[in-house]
Subunit: 272 residues, 2 copies
């Protein structure tokens, strides 16, 4: 919407007019971190988990974030009040800042944006199709702005009649560019990679569910040939069944029973 | 200088005021490519080589650059004339463009900037100190804006009393973040990595020199223990002796004889 506001370094600005000078290290060197969470009925979902990860990412990248956590929360709530968009996605981005020589670490710029976003339950029944690709993300546990491969490969995904990528590191399954990946084995075990991935907040909530046999475990490309169900998890997708991988149908090509039960649990935690 | 101009999508703008909207994919997703060349006495050095690589990078990233090569050159020469900075560095950056959803590939933004830069011969006698780090750059042959590791590790470089990083991929020497790396063996062979690196333009000119025994060859961390000389090459550094690696002195800690001869040849090609 044209009257939606963003916040840059604590000041409101119309989102459509918000800009950064080209000396910013995000533009010069792809250097920045971010986090992304939703609001439902004006209330942030799992905010503390997202802030934990945001400050972790900043510290791992040696970025000085002068804003204390409570002050950052205050800015977030100010933006929520100003925009008055009940159901939304909020992105907090910390860039490398304006650097005189375009290289040296500088005082970061903090950009907070909000978009209307309502969770669409219909996507669940459709599920998504993935295409595998050999790529290990650098600094995987840090939520950096680096999506070079994912953006570059958008035509590749289309050519393969898929909706998204599934990265593997020389046959070890990792994650999708913006979501975590799970399989359900024929023994009803729910498995997800534990190493060299971004640890998603929805993933964390799934791992905490007690009524399933869920654990972190190395999954290989070959393991995919014999899974009962597969799904991805993310802040916007909640839990989304994977119906095809590399053109091969998973299970009967419909959302599986355990996937559906996990989805219901996660929706209970998140949605109105 | 405050009256230096930049060019964004063909239009002049004061460099200090040049900005991109925050929906640009460089800010959202670290997605962009660039190239960088020098002018000496208003003349671009090795421009065709740099443009070759720039268009190669764009095509590899699936970026649509609508501007034909001759039109891009025209913009570059317009900027050179407008700014009238005889000795400079010119950077052409192509970002992913303004993306409505912050993810989908869009029409790229082209940003051209110019900085005064004069080559400093005194740096040669001092040389530089490197510290090794295990990191394989992603998409190494494409000149993307991704310098996440290099920027993040700036404090690490300082703590190790070094000037720059030397990346190796599980003991196979690759390159520095912004320069290529060469060794001179005790048999006066000049070796540089040929795989999984960015192929620098100065590096290319060095490999074309006929009076030396130069070739691409895998170099291991262990090989560094027994080298006679080492140096790096780049557009701004030309050829710069490496006097220490991980605190260990290379040769006698002074610029070596073959390094000096290669340096002289490269300066002849580039400098007034």
């Amino acid at each position: 919407m044209s009257d939606t506001y963003a916040m840059i370094n604590g000041g409101f600005i119309l989102k459509n007019e918000a800009s950064l000078f080209i000396s910013d290290l995000s533009i010069q060197r792809g250097f920045g971190i971010f986090d992304f969470f939703r609001t439902v009925d004006h209330k942030p979902i799992f905010l503390e988990d997202h802030l934990d990860r945001f400050y972790f990412s900043a510290s791992q990248m040696n970025m000085e974030i002068s804003l204390a956590r409570e002050a950052l929360k205050k800015q977030i709530f100010e933006l929520i009040e100003k925009n008055s968009i009940p159901d939304s996605g909020i992105r907090i981005t910390l860039t490398g800042g304006y650097s005189e020589d375009g290289y040296t670490l500088s005082k970061p710029n903090l950009v907070i944006t909000q978009n209307a976003f309502a969770f669409n339950k219909e996507n669940f029944e459709k599920g998504i199709k993935l295409v595998t690709y050999d790529h290990q993300r650098q600094l995987p546990q840090i939520k950096t702005i680096d999506y070079l491969q994912a953006i570059r490969l958008q035509p590749f995904v289309k050519e393969n009649h898929a909706d998204d990528l599934l990265y593997h590191d020389q046959n070890m399954i990792r994650e999708c560019p913006r979501s975590n990946f799970f399989i359900v084995t024929n023994n009803n075990e729910v498995l997800t990679a534990g190493k060299k991935i971004l640890k998603g907040i929805t993933r964390k909530k799934i791992l905490e569910l007690e009524e399933f046999n869920i654990r972190e475990e190395e999954i290989t490309l070959k393991d995919l040939e014999n899974v009962k169900e597969a799904f991805v998890s993310s802040t916007t997708k909640n839990v989304l069944p994977v119906v095809k991988i590399d053109g091969k149908t998973i299970g009967n090509g419909k959302p599986g029973e355990i996937t559906r039960r996990i989805y219901d649990k996660i929706c209970l935690l998140k949605e109105k």
